[in-house]
């Protein structure tokens, strides 16, 4: 027997939700101590698959074996007892408890009146972090930690519960490049300890760096599993989407166009300092920088949500004094937030209601009322202009895919007829096909004369959309480049230096 028995084996696993075939006859193996990537676009069945393994969803057909033994029916408690730990995208931590309490929580379950010793909990917490070779304040509240450290807390919790297989759902979605690097180091340690790690992702860059094998899902089916050495990023992207995607540099020289927005010496204590730049009509300007570099804070000030302590903002030569975001909207500045789910749209409300929010003033007739027919017509027009795929205007926004939600937010602001559009990390959590769609919308808006600011930490994204790129770090603008003048790789090195 040369072939070692895998830790986890799925055979013919299928899952139906009502009329939707979420998983279709999946055969899949995870070996002991391997790093395995499970990739696919949003809605391809990745989440359903890990939930089946975690015992959250019972498969409609097929079998799940752990070390050769059939483990169905599986419930979350049994899966954990078998050493299967899932680190969900939301991390499932307790923000009100300390790091030590979070890591030790599983040891504190069981009999209701069983005594819980704090010292023991701290010990478990310290051990968990030591295995990751990571120092964290055990007494810090999780709500005070940055996302990357919360994630480490979640991983340590999995280890404390004797994990043998850790599935991480989109672990890198909210991390900066440097933090991703640190996470990969941790994964390497886990592998040394014989713990298998499954990365579930729709982003491609880090897949190639750490995995031994990669499995691609598409539309609920397994496309295949390959050793990482045999596939490159482009091939994986093609396998995921079924289409070839080509990003090319679109930068144009806009220096002849008139200046639209001018920012001089803008500062806000603790957030950004002495920021000066100009945005020309029809230009797409990228602002790159890590999370915490002040890029989002700058955007919020330009949008009137916070006030600069010094410096000036001028639009079309007229100085602006923005006291609130209403002033900004009136002046012609629109902002689409990074966190589209919580800030940009009201998820349970209908598509029409979401589109109309920013247009209320325009829609009111002379009695101050909004005629329903006009509302509907306006909403329908925007859906058509941005090519949003929707089941119906009265459906809640949460029924749409990530990319379409993003377009709804975009439409909501475009409908106010802005001169300057600020997009903060516009494609976070959006799959490849929809990303391309959003890039096209941005290019079209710029052609119509709008000035667009794209804030991002994905170099590929700013290269694919921007005419000019500003580099921000620790609250200051420290460099300016034109896409194509340096390679994507070179630019990344500068940002993450």
């Amino acid at each position: 027997m040369t072939e070692e028995q895998p830790f986890l084996r799925l055979s013919g696993v299928s899952k139906r939700f009502g009329g939707v075939q979420a998983l279709d006859d999946i055969d899949w193996e995870v070996r002991r101590g391997e790093v395995h990537c499970l990739v696919g676009e949003n809605g391809c069945g990745k989440s359903t698959l890990i939930k089946a393994v975690a015992g959250v969803h019972a498969p409609s057909a097929g079998s799940i074996e752990v070390e050769g033994r059939n483990v169905l029916p599986l419930d979350p408690g049994r899966a954990r007892a078998l050493g299967i730990q899932v680190i969900f995208q939301d991390l499932s931590l307790f923000p009100n408890l300390t790091v030590a309490e979070n890591i030790g929580i599983e040891g504190a379950l069981g009999g209701a009146l069983r005594p819980v010793r704090r010292a023991r909990m701290r010990e478990v917490g310290r051990e968990g972090l030591e295995r990751l070779d990571f120092a964290l304040d055990l007494d810090a509240l999780v709500s005070d930690l940055p996302v990357a450290e919360r994630q480490i807390t979640a991983i340590a919790r999995g280890l404390a519960a004797r994990a043998r297989l850790i599935l991480m759902d989109e672990p890198t979605a909210s991390l900066t490049r440097a933090e991703v690097g640190r996470l990969l180091g941790i994964v390497a340690r886990l592998r040394q300890d014989g713990i298998a790690v499954v990365f579930v992702s729709h982003r491609l860059d880090e897949v190639v760096e750490i995995a031994e094998r990669v499995t691609v899902l598409r539309d609920g089916r397994k496309v295949g599993t390959w050793p990482v050495a045999e596939v490159d990023q482009r091939r994986i992207a093609t396998l995921m989407t079924g289409v070839e995607i080509e990003h090319e540099v679109v930068a144009r020289d806009m220096s002849a166009a008139p200046v639209l927005l001018e920012v001089g010496g803008l500062s806000r204590r603790g957030e950004f300092a002495d920021v000066s730049f100009g945005l020309r009509r029809g230009e797409v300007l990228g602002i790159v920088g890590l999370l915490g570099s002040g890029r989002t804070e700058l955007a919020l000030t330009l949008f009137g949500m916070t006030r600069a302590e010094s410096g000036r903002i001028a639009l079309e030569g007229q100085p602006l004094s923005l006291r609130s975001n209403r002033d900004a909207v009136r002046a012609g500045i629109a902002y689409v937030s990074e966190d589209r789910l919580s800030l940009g749209v009201v998820l349970p409300q209908s598509i029409e209601d979401n589109l109309i929010v920013a247009l209320m003033q325009q829609l009111k007739n002379r009695f101050g009322l909004m005629p329903p027919a006009r509302r509907r017509a306006l909403a329908a027009e925007w859906v058509r202009r941005l090519a949003i795929t929707i089941p119906g205007l009265d459906r809640p926004v949460q029924t749409l895919s990530g990319g379409n939600q993003q377009r709804i937010v975009l439409a909501k602001w475009l409908a106010t007829g802005p001169k300057v559009l600020i997009l903060d990390s516009p494609t976070v959590g959006v799959d490849i096909k929809n990303k391309q769609g959003i890039y096209e919308v941005v290019a079209e808006l710029a052609r119509q004369g709008m000035g667009v600011i794209v804030i991002s930490d994905e170099v590929a994204e700013v290269f694919a959309t921007c005419d000019r790129i500003l580099h921000m770090r620790a609250g200051r603008i420290i460099g300016e480049t034109v896409p194509g003048a340096v390679s994507e790789h070179e630019m990344e090195a500068r940002i993450y230096a």
Binding site: N96, E101, I105, A108, L109, G110, V116, G292, G294, R473
Partner: protein, 340 residues
């Protein structure tokens, strides 16, 4: 090491209990100087006894708040439990243990009914308990026709003194049953919430119910425990209240809901769940008690006291929110170079 000490100090500064203690010392000092008789042992002991009922019930409410819920019906529960026990004792003449057990049983049952509505029928806790308050209190008034029970048996109304001391001034101070019960309830609640698995699970559920479910915490069980425990302590509070005043008046406890809730919130218990401590809630009660008593001794109108309560709550909760917000903003930039 100094950095660690600094972090410890910073953490201490963010604890509402510390601020509350400072405010209490300040207010206590001011009244000690201005109000004659305020800072005397008899007055302090008297205050302890007066607020023992509120403190006992607040311990139960605290557990519900930590679990992520809220309960408005506890005063009605206390009244119903008290009245039922009073009827059983005076009209039926049941023996002592049975009367006490019946009173506590009524409290637990009403608490569990809340839990049932919240857990199985998925009614928001504030709605469910407002409805329950209305129903159980109205039933009480309907069947009692508002009549008080004056002829409580002696075992219920006679004073139980654990410790008695005569001061040099000639004043006599007594440590009585309500004070001892309050201490026991506070201690038990504290141990339960900080030293047992159950307590950890309640904090976890209050902090993130979905995550609690995912790691296999039985949230239904915990909901029943939290509301049942509050029902139990409401019944204890109700019976102690009758013990102190010597009669059972159906509507005597009504109106204490907000005072008790305010004390818990003042003491740092969060209405969104998962946050709060027993000492904090006790300090909240203490602050309300000395404010009321001190202003009373100064001859200030009771209406003015209500204004002071309202303003104290607004100020203390705003301070908590503002200090945590400032911390977040500074952290953002402070954390930036760490990525590099």
């Amino acid at each position: 090491m100094p950095e660690r000490a600094h972090a410890g100090l910073a953490r201490l500064r963010r604890r509402p209990e510390i601020w509350l203690l400072l405010v209490i010392l300040l207010v206590g000092g001011v009244f000690g100087v201005t109000a004659r008789g305020f800072l005397t042992l008899p007055n302090v002991i008297d205050l302890l006894e007066t607020y023992s009922v509120q403190a006992i019930i607040a311990m139960g409410l605290f557990v519900v708040l930590v679990s992520g819920g809220i309960d408005i019906s506890f005063a009605a529960t206390a009244s119903v439990a008290q009245y039922c026990a009073a009827l059983l004792a005076s009209r039926v003449g049941l023996p002592v243990p049975l009367v006490i057990a019946a009173g506590l049983g009524v409290g637990v049952a009403l608490g569990c009914l809340n839990a049932l509505l919240i857990h199985y029928f998925r009614i928001t806790s504030i709605i469910a308990t407002i409805a329950m308050m209305s129903v159980s209190f109205s039933l009480l008034m309907y069947f009692s026709e508002g009549r008080s029970v004056y002829d409580l048996p002696d075992w219920w109304t006679s004073r139980v003194v654990f410790l008695r001391a005569e001061l040099a001034s000639g004043d006599i101070v007594r440590i009585t049953l309500p004070i001892v019960l309050m201490a026991v309830v506070a201690l038990v609640t504290w141990a339960l919430m900080t030293r047992t698995s159950l307590g950890r699970q309640l904090y976890a559920m209050g902090g993130n119910p979905e995550a609690a479910r995912r790691i296999g915490i039985g949230t239904g069980r915990l909901t029943f425990f939290a509301y049942g425990y509050l029902g139990l302590l409401a019944a204890v509070g109700g019976m102690v209240q009758a013990h102190r005043v010597g009669e059972s008046v159906p509507n005597a406890m009504v109106g204490t809901e907000l005072a008790i809730l305010s004390a818990a919130v003042l003491g740092g218990a969060s209405l969104t769940g998962g946050i709060g401590t027993v000492p904090g809630v006790l300090l909240g009660i203490v602050l309300l008690a000395i404010l009321q008593n001190g202003l009373n001794l100064l001859g200030v109108s009771p209406y003015f006291f209500q204004i002071v309560i309202g303003i104290t709550i607004l100020v203390s909760t705003s301070i908590t929110v503002l200090s945590s917000r400032r911390g977040r903003r500074l952290r953002q930039l402070g954390g930036a170079p760490a990525h590099g």
